[in-house]
Amino acid sequence: MKQLIKMVFAVVLIAASTSVLAVGDIEAGKQKSTACAACHGVYGVSASAMFPTIAGQHADYMVKALKAYKSGERNNPIMQGSVAGLSDEDMVNLAAYFASQAGLKTLKK
């Protein structure tokens, strides 16, 4: 029984900590977003087809992309340089900021 309680406690703790991390701080993200704005636009709507619009994109997808650029799994010199100095927390915050902007939508069926 004790073990069960411990396990439930651990699961709840892990769940809580990941969800806190995943939510992100929109305001902190905005503060960090100046460099991104140069290509992706201030609100994440880019003016050039060379750079994707990221406004309204799913936050967790953007975090995944940022991490992939950092690790080199996605190979893009501009992005690799831009994300090199970002912590995991910065990425989550940036993603929260751009996800909160109006832009991309799910395709209509």
Binding site: A49, M50, F51, Q57, K64, L104, T106
Partner: protein, 105 residues
């Protein structure tokens, strides 16, 4: 006169490039049916690792074509995306991308 001719020729080339670059969104709607299985479902998740399938409506067509090409040559790796783009021609990609771009507007 020669210069005028040259000018017209250059203009003609410019038009052909645009015609080539702009995909046919109506054709794209047909060719892109399969894409909707994931990209047309709100909040749909990729399985293992779990993250939301990206939203594509309103994305720049040029960027979408670049992404599809990257999956095709393996510069971006995702097994499902590879399987879906490997048989697409450049024109197919342009058409699908045109459809996605205008869908968000």
């Amino acid at each position: 006169m020669k210069r005028l001719l040259a000018g017209v020729l250059v203009l003609g080339m410019a038009f052909s490039v645009t015609a080539n670059a702009a995909g046919d969104a109506a054709l794209g709607a047909i060719k892109g049916q399969t894409c909707l299985g994931c990209h047309g479902v709100k909040n749909y998740n990729n399985a293992y690792p779990t993250y939301h399938v990206p939203k594509l409506a309103g994305q720049h067509a040029g960027y979408l074509v670049a992404a599809m090409k990257a999956y095709k040559v393996g510069a971006r790796t995702h097994a499902t995306m590879y399987g879906n783009v490997v048989d697409l021609s450049e024109q197919d990609m342009q058409d699908i991308a045109a459809y996605f771009e205008q869908d968000g507007k």
